[in-house]
């Protein structure tokens, strides 16, 4: 599903956020990405989503060689990837409902279908009663859950979650993890960035460990 071939990423500032990273993720896998702050976790996810381009190496996602993807293909490629952004990326000029509906509207789903799916997604993150609220009025954890609902509403084949549980207490964090696991069990490839070591231990899944942009660990815990 995902393959990195000696991928490096040097930002315009000259900082090398990723250095010769190699790994492969099978379709239907669930894995974690960990490392200290600034290790390059978000950068790695941005490369998968083609928000950034690697300075070296090749990235393959879902059979696409990203460097060779025509610009016109990009939107359709992104529709198959659900992303939970570290900084939520919610739009504060519209309701929670409209935020979650965005991927479906963009993909041109019929109105009733959007309503059904948005409510199902909001129900999964337990925010059904907030659908008419503005995300601005929600707590940090609630905003994060809106972001999660938006990432899963389109039933993507690949789910990227960058610190999805950062603002959540352990109980809620567990529920979100269970949700992700359910998605994984029905075939979605799930990649989660976190520095919560307890969570990694509990989940007992494959872990990619980054230190200063280098991949230093690949496997079930260390």
């Amino acid at each position: 599903m995902i393959r990195f071939e000696t991928v490096s990423k040097r930002y315009d500032t000259g900082y090398e956020a990723l250095a010769r990273v190699d790994f492969e993720v099978e379709s239907g896998e669930m894995l974690f990405l960990t490392g200290h702050s600034g290790a390059g976790k978000s950068t790695l996810m941005k490369l998968i989503l083609l928000m950034e381009q690697p300075s070296n190496g090749n990235v393959f996602v879902d059979g696409h060689h990203l460097a060779r993807m025509p610009k016109s293909q990009l939107p359709y490629f992104r529709r198959n990837i659900g992303v939970v952004f570290q900084n939520h990326q919610l739009l504060f000029d519209r309701t929670v409902y409209d935020n979650v509906a965005l991927p479906l509207q963009v993909a041109g789903y019929p109105h009733q279908e959007i309503g059904k799916r948005v409510r199902a997604a909001l129900d999964k993150v337990d925010l059904l009663d907030k659908e008419r609220s503005n995300p601005m009025t929600l707590s940090g954890g609630e905003q994060q859950r809106v972001g999660i609902a938006r990432a899963v509403v389109n039933k993507p084949t690949l789910l990227l979650a960058d610190e999805p549980t950062g603002n959540l207490d352990p109980e809620l964090s567990n529920e979100i993890m269970t949700l992700f696991r359910q998605f994984n069990e029905v075939g979605t490839t799930v990649m989660i960035a976190t520095h919560d070591v307890e969570l990694l231990k509990r989940m007992n899944k494959r872990v990619l460990g980054l230190v200063q942009g280098k991949l230093v660990h690949d496997g079930v815990l260390w």
Partner: protein, 357 residues
Amino acid sequence: MKSNRPSKPERRPNRMGASATPRNERPRREAPPRLENVRPQGAVSSQMSWRDKFDAWSAHHSNSAIESLLRMLGTPLQSLMTWLVIAIAIALPAALFVVFSNVQQIGQSWQDSSQISVFLKKEASAGQAQDLRSRWAKRPDVVQATYVSPEQALEEFKLGSGLGELANHLDENPLPAVILVKPKIGGNAPDALTSLQQALVADPLVADVRLDMLWVKRLHQFITVAERFVVALAGLLALGVLLVIGNTIRMAIENRRDEIVVVKLVGATDAYVRRPFLYTGLWFGVGGGILAAILLALGFWWLSAPVTQLADLYQSSFRLQGLGFIESLQLILIAGFTGLIGAWIAVARHLYQIQPR
């Protein structure tokens, strides 16, 4: 949310898992999740019919159209200023065009009263001259022909020039006989006159034909120059409209940068991202065009009464012609089109600078 949780713990344990909730009667089962709800579905587009896609597409069009209009009305003062700037830029050349077409109309009516003076040779007798006069009077391009004998001409000269004394000292009458021909003027004004003139001068009795149409030519020349000027002005002002709209759209794009980024990341096509901004440009153009049409109507209404009085003073039936309904509609259409183009240029320039691509 968080704070009220302890008060109702029974709702929460493993809510995602599938414990029954007060709202939703979910079966109490752990592992196999609700497949029908969670199943990933691969390429989104493949499962939608063309009909659905078309519906979604047209829905987004009308949504974008309405929403961009509402956004504009949400900042009424700002929008009004932009509309006014556009309206003035459009109204100015349009007003000049209308004025010139009116002047052309005046020129035409003046040509009606123009006449050709045909000077006859000295040897032409009064009888021959009268023959000639009646022959010409029958021509289809001549309304009227009048014979003025040399004696009559001298009388007129004495009276009209104030040089009567001088004329009295002359031994013989230096003036030739004249036939005054009043041409009938059709569509192509100066050319028709010139060909009539050539026909008249061909007669052997004719010494000279004086067509007093220098001013007609000048007027036509002037209008041609003026029209070019207006075209150039209109071009410049259209450029101004493009810039104004471009700048407005640029700011709109800047204001909605976050939204654009998010929408792109969840898979919006460029066309989808572009659409609301193109509608914004269209509405700016159409709004400016409507205002321009109103400005023009008001302006010509305000001018028409004094112009009518002036025309009456000169016994002219001339009336100021403003923009008609169809012309106003055309004006609005052109304005809307200009707005659309301005938006297109701005979008092409600024939207793609926003990362991610």
